[in-house]
Structure formats: C-alpha cells, structure tokens
Amino acid sequence: MPNSRGFFGNYGGRYVPEILLPALDDLNKAFSEVRNDKTFQKEYHGLLQEYVGRETPLTYAGRLTEHFGKARIYLKREDLCHTGAHKINNAIGQVLLARKMGKTRIIAETGAGQHGVATATVCAHFGMSCIIYMGAEDISRQKLNVDRMHLLGAEVRPVKSGAQTLSNAINEAIRDWVSNVDNTFYIIGSAVGPHPYPYMVREFQSVIGRETMDQSLRQEGRLPDHVLACVGGGSNAIGIFYPMLDHQNVMLYGIEAAGEGVKTPRHAATLTGGLPGILHGSLSYLLQTQQGQIAEAHSVSAGLDYPGVGPEHSFLCDSGRVTYASVTDEEAIEGVRLLSSKEGIIPALETAHAIAYLKVLMPTTETSEFVVINCSGRGDKDMETISKFI
C-alpha cells in the first residue's frame, strides 16, 4: 500500500495542476469505496470472466523448456484476454468506476494501442463516449489498433508534439483532463501517473498474479521460483508481481526496453539508465537530460517506448526486491521468433522483451525449478513491424 500521500517509499505523489486535485481526491475516495464493495467486485470479476475470458491459462511451454534444458517454463496467457493484452483488466475496472462516479466522457492515452483498444472496447460495451490520444508516430506503427479503435467508435486524436509517442500522448490527455475535469474520467493505461492511479492500476491488474499463484499451486504444487514480466509503465509487471512480493522465495524480474542499447541515447530502460524525477504526476525514475528535460525514449515496441516508469517499480528497484534488466530491440525480435517457433504463440513486442531475457536467466536456473513469464499480449498488432525485421 502506498502511504496516504500516495508514496511507495520515496516514489509517487500527486504532482499535478491544482485543478486536478479535487478530481484525484474524488477518484481516491471512489476507489477506496469500491475496493471492498461486494457489488462492485462482483460486477468487475463477472466482466473479467464472462467478457474478457478470465481466468487466462498458465500454459506449460514444453518446447521452450526443452530449448533451454533447465527450469520448466510456463506462460501466463494474458494474450488470450479479449482485445489481446492485459490492459483490459484495468480498463474494465476504471470504466466501472467512471460509471459509478457519473462521468460520461472517457479519455485515455495509448502507446501500442492496446490500452486504447481496451478503453474503446469497454466504452463501446457501456455506450460511453471515448477519446484516445496517441502519438502520431505510434499511429503509424500500430495501424491495426488504430483501425480497431475507430471501428469501436472511439475518436483517435493524433499527438504531434515531441517524439510523437506515448509520453506526449499522456501530456495531451492530461491537458484534456484539465480542460474537462467535470465530466471526464481519465483512464490511465499503466501503473503510472498521480496517486491513486499507480495503486489503483496495480489493484486492477493484480488478478494476474493471484491467478498465477493459484494455478502454480494447482499445476506445480508450489509458487514459481522465477517470475518475469516486461516493464513499460509497469502495469503487467506489478500485476503479476504484487501478490507474490511477500513470498521472498519467488524471484522477480522486470525487463525494460534497451532499444538500440542502454549505452546509446536510443533506449527506454528507465530503471537501468534513468534517475529519479517528476513526470506525469509522480516522482519516479525517469530518462532525462543533465538539465532535467525529459529525454526521448526509444523502443521498437510502442508499449515500452516511455521515459518513465511506475513509482512502485522505482521503490522495488531501490529495495532490491525485484531485479530489473533490459534487452535490446534486436533481442526482442529474436524473442518473438523464439516463442512463435517453439510454442506457436506470437507474443506482443512488449512481451517479447521478457521472453528474450530467458537466455540470460535460464542458464542460472535448476531443472527442479519453474519459471513463469507474463505473456502480456499477443503480437497481431506488431506483425507489420516484425515483418520488417524478418
């Protein structure tokens, strides 16, 4: 739990324009109410089951296991969620909250387009108006998802400032929120932003970790030895990590995007290559210049192409509970190929970062151990990008 001011250790907070504070207060209050509200939780979990298709399986990856010849590898199949990624777990939770709060207009930012599609989807499901901010660069590299959002009735607003990617889309969404705070609910897509977002998003995504624990117990009789997830803003990672944080025997690994290399200026490995700072409402690790300007992130994967990271990850990084590492664009593409050819599962480019890290992790494991990778999304949206590399 973050403290009352929204801090995980030194990280978090609410560094936002005055105008948003009442909205954050309202949100915090509403979320606290529903957290333990049976009706809400029943509706939320009902939708996860009947609409999203949860629980998602924990699939044994036999040929991948054979490939490394060490610990057994399992995949937590968030790629099977409706719309193709874990993002919808959170979008559903937030849209239910928005309805409860009487908001009629939904805005969201998106990078890979998965959160945008998830938000557009839940808005269509509930008949709410929906505007998605998306960097112009991301619009061109995730065309499939843009088409999907349009078809779902959302307006996709191209953001042309900066690198025209996720970070700029968040700026623009915040500007919209500042301007329409009365009737508008901002559904943030990752465990970032001002309190209570990082906490709330974690709570909505923790269903991943809880299911993984249950399934591990069912299928292996105990909790996993190693759990991997890719880290963009950090929602899929914190979702699978959080319920296992107290189980010290479970080793946790968050894999960031090293782009063209953490030694180059073109990467998005915030915890590996960044320093604490304030962006988008919270204090956390950031890619920034000597002067404290926000650096442009780079990753082949639009969903990881973000110079910040959720504050709870900054805390877990400093505390050492989670090991953060990074893999390059090239290694990620190799990861796509590996999982596709060994298991018949084409992962999202984001997810592929976690897969790619196996080549580092697996040699250190024992055959008696088992590993769970959060397969956060499917690769359909990335086929165009991937095809260019293959």
Binding site: P17, G162, S167, G277, I278, H280
Partner: protein
C-alpha cells in the same frame, strides 16, 4: 525581506482603481539574446510583474502557444543558469518583481537547494510551479521561505473553499486565480468572463492574506478589465506570446510588443 518586499510594495502601493498587470513570457523566446531587452520594454510599457517561464520539454499544463515557446527556447539552449543570468541582468537596472514559472523536474535536477540559492541571489521574487500544488512537496515550500522567494500557488474554479484558505495560507506574494478549467491560452476572454463572477466572489471570501491576480484566457484590455473586477490584477501569457510570435520576424518587434502591452494595460497604446 528584500525580495518579498518588491511584490509586497507593489500591491501596497497600487491605487484602488489600478489593476496590477503581470505578464508571462518564456525565457529565451523568441531568442535568448532579446529576453532582457524585451522585459525592459514590457516594464516600460506598463508591466507590473514579470513571470519568466522556465522552458520544459513536457509542459502538460500549457496550451499550444506556450508549448511552442518552450520548445523554441529549449532548442536555443536555454537552461536555468542562463535564466538566472537574465534575472541578474534585469535586477541590475530594475526593481520590477520577477516570478519564475515552470515545472518541477528541471528544478529538482538542478538541485533544490542550489536552485533556490541561485534564484534568490539573482533577484527572483517568487516562483510558480504548476505541477507542485501546496502540500504535495513540503521541501519546496520551506526552501521558498528560507530563501525569501514567494511561493505562489493557484486556485482553480473547482478548488474547494477550505482548500482555498489553505492555499492562501501557503502562498506569499499573491494567489494566482485560474479563471477556467483548462490549459494556458485555452479559451478566449469573452467566453471566460461570463462564468467567472461567482468564482471570484468565492475566492475573495477565502483568500484574505494575499492579493489575487486572475489569469488564463485574457487576450485584450476589455477581457482584462471585465475579468479582474474585484481582484487585484490580471495575468496575460498566451496572448502576449502569440503577439510576439506574429511580429518577431520584424526588426522593431520589441517596440511593437511594447505598443501591444500598453494597449493591453490602458486600452490605447
């Protein structure tokens, strides 16, 4: 108390009919070499306070105008030390209150202590950090006090009255009253003034320790007069930068900007 003094004196000395005019420009826009000269022109044309924007890569509370100005300033290499130099240079010749305005991250990266020390030494009178509302970053507030720099906070149309009183308590120099929900430069003044009366009454009932300046969306003298009825003055930012943008390729753009500012303040230039 020297610096708090400059803002304090300004408001104490204003005539009851006179409205204080605070002008926002981005340091280094349209180019760093002309900022000091521009500020002198603003002062001589009627500006009572200068809000000097510290450019930031991700100005999430700003509209397109100030985003653009920030971007140009950054491209031209503006950073905090340059801004301190600008302030020092002005301070050599003028006692106009100068308030720095910008986002917290560059300040943090500079080092909080170092920033406030240097700002104070350069002659900065106040600071506005739109992404640091009162209570969210206590260290910033105490450093303000320590270095005699006025922490200026904002009240917005949706700010609860209790919080308005808290903001009043936390603020020095003046309270920045945001007339509309929105980013800077968002709406034009005529639209704004309709709904603003009630809001101002509420602010005045709660903000008792500080003067009140009102801003966001003021583009003309008429806007300014209409909107600042009942408060101490007004703030113009985007409209000024838009004007500068429109004339900055002309040789006498600074003089022209002076004319624009006089018209803003007095209705005629």
């Amino acid at each position: 108390m020297k610096k708090l003094g400059r803002l304090k004196k300004l408001f104490e000395n204003r005539g009851s009919e006179q409205k204080i005019m605070s002008l926002f420009i981005t340091a280094g826009y349209p180019d760093p070499g002309s900022t000091v000269e521009l500020i002198r022109e603003l002062e001589s044309s009627g500006a009572d306070i200068i809000e000097l924007g510290m450019p930031f890569s991700d100005p999430l509370a700003d509209g397109p105008t100030i985003q653009h100005a920030s971007k140009i300033a950054l491209e031209k290499g503006v950073h905090l030390d340059i801004i301190f130099d600008m302030v020092s240079e002005i301070r050599d010749q003028s006692d106009i209150p100068i308030v720095l305005m910008g986002y917290i991250n560059p300040v943090l990266k500079y080092g909080l202590e170092a920033f406030f020390l240097k700002a104070s030494r350069a002659g900065v009178d106040g600071i506005i950090l739109p992404d640091v509302p009162p209570g969210e970053f206590p260290e910033v507030e105490s450093l303000c006090m320590k270095h005699d720099i006025a922490p200026i906070f904002l009240v917005a149309p949706n700010t609860p009255e209790e919080r308005m009183r808290m903001i009043d308590k936390s603020s020095r120099g003046f309270v920045y009253c945001v007339s509309v929900t929105g980013v800077t430069g968002a709406r034009d003044g005529s639209e704004v003034s309709q709904s603003v009366g009630k809001f101002i009454d509420k602010v005045r009932n709660n903000v008792k320790n500080n003067p009140i300046l009102i801003g966001f969306g003021i583009r003309t003298h008429q806007d300014a007069m209409a909107i600042s009825r009942g408060v101490d003055g007004f703030i113009v930012g985007s409209a000024l930068i838009d004007y500068i943008r429109s004339v900055s390729d002309q040789e006498d753009w600074i003089k022209k900007t002076g004319d624009f500012v006089r018209k803003l303040k007095y209705g005629t230039s």
